[in-house]
């Protein structure tokens, strides 16, 4: 079965972004980029919410034509072109990605649709959603691996990743690695009975 792998950068107080969606507190460096991009080899599809999709499309489609793009950015843009882009949104009517045909729109029955995709052949699936979508996925038990990068900062104010998860569930810690920047990269999988 294909796994849904969630990758998220958090502050130690569990916030995924600042009060105005700031991400500048993330200790992003080559080491963290390399750790995140290890998912390129493992996955061939991504799951996004509407806003993540719109942000991704407006940035990554411009990367190949931008002479300032770094090799790592070009690699990620190529990965996104090839990956199936699964977008969860009630309000969108279509999902486009340049001329690419490999997009899927899920408007409702999220659990059924995702579970159907997990049965299909393919590599694992990279989930990168807003905290709101992540909470929906956690409540529905759709995430099979949590990759959580804890940054050495308490932000105080912002968008919490876990807040509306009211289900208590056990996890298994698969790996913990501290980067030079002090980011602790954790890998957990849910323990299902």
């Amino acid at each position: 079965l294909r796994k849904v792998i969630s990758l998220i950068h958090l502050s130690l107080d569990g916030l995924a972004s600042g009060p105005n969606d700031e991400l500048d507190w993330i200790s992003y460096d080559a080491e963290l980029e390399q750790s995140a991009h290890s998912l390129h080899a493992l996955t061939d599809a991504v799951i996004w919410g509407r806003r993540t999709y719109e942000g991704m499309a407006s940035y990554w489609l411009t990367v190949p034509g931008n002479p300032e793009s770094t090799p790592a950015e070009l690699e990620h843009a190529r990965y996104l072109d090839g990956a199936t882009k699964i977008v969860v949104s009630r309000t969108l009517d279509q999902v486009t990605w340049g001329d690419a045909q490999n997009t899927v729109l899920i408007k409702d029955n999220v659990a059924d649709e995702i579970n159907k995709i997990k049965q299909e052949p393919g590599k694992d699936i990279w989930f990168l959603g807003s905290p709101v979508l992540a909470q929906t996925f956690m409540q529905l038990d759709l995430i099979d691996e949590y990759r959580i990068n804890i940054n050495p900062t308490v932000m105080g104010q912002g968008k919490p990743f876990f807040t509306d998860v009211t289900r208590q569930f056990p996890l298994k810690l698969l790996e913990a690695k501290t980067l030079k920047s002090g980011v602790v990269c954790l890998r957990y999988e849910p323990v299902r009975k």
Binding site: G14, M138, F162, K172, A176, G182
Partner: protein
């Protein structure tokens, strides 16, 4: 200088309240970690609620090394009402918590621990008097309960250690990077 060290048991979603409900295991690495934390402490600050619970539990407990430590150590309790339980070496702290801890830090001695006592930890973190955060993070989403870092202002940290215990708990220690508030130009 003696350090203020906050030691807390958390779930992955940051809940510190009632850790018994999400700590399913306790292994030798967690024991050794706790032993190392308390080895340098000779004073502990407790909140009123933790004091009331612990004063009933620890005096008759044989859970070592924490029982011997917490029963013997000097305990200052942040409370506005007199202590009503008979627990050795516990006194209500005089005056405001933050000023008391700042003064205590200037005196000679070992490190000062904050254990459990969520409100005390939050007040001391907010006041910028905490030097180290030593966390044990359970592999579990608790889903509900008071979170340690809710309502705490922005704080810069330096990660000084992370280790996985044999049962999959994360032992992670941070040093608080103190901003120089006097240096306003």
């Amino acid at each position: 200088v003696r350090k203020i060290v906050v030691y807390e048991l958390l779930s992955l979603d940051g809940v510190a309240e009632n850790p018994d409900s999400f700590f399913a295991d306790w292994d030798e690495a967690m024991d050794a970690n706790l032993a190392a934390v308390i080895a340098t402490q000779d004073a502990v600050i407790l909140g009123r609620r933790s004091y009331t619970e612990w004063a009933q539990f620890w005096p008759s407990s044989q859970i070592q090394p924490f029982a011997t430590f917490i029963n013997g150590v000097t305990k200052y309790v942040a409370t506005s009402t007199p202590l009503d339980r008979d627990w050795a070496n516990a006194t209500a702290l005089d005056g405001g918590l933050v000023k008391f801890v700042r003064d205590l830090k200037q005196q000679r001695g070992g490190d000062i621990g904050v254990h459990a006592s969520i409100s005390v930890a939050q007040a001391l973190l907010a006041a910028g008097v905490v030097d180290e955060l030593r966390l044990v993070i359970a592999p579990r989403i608790a889903g509900r309960g008071r979170r340690l870092l809710d309502g705490v202002p922005s704080i810069q940290l330096e990660s000084i250690r992370s280790e996985i215990s044999p049962t999959g708990y994360l032992l992670v220690d941070y040093r608080v990077i103190h901003q120089n508030l006097e240096n306003n130009g």
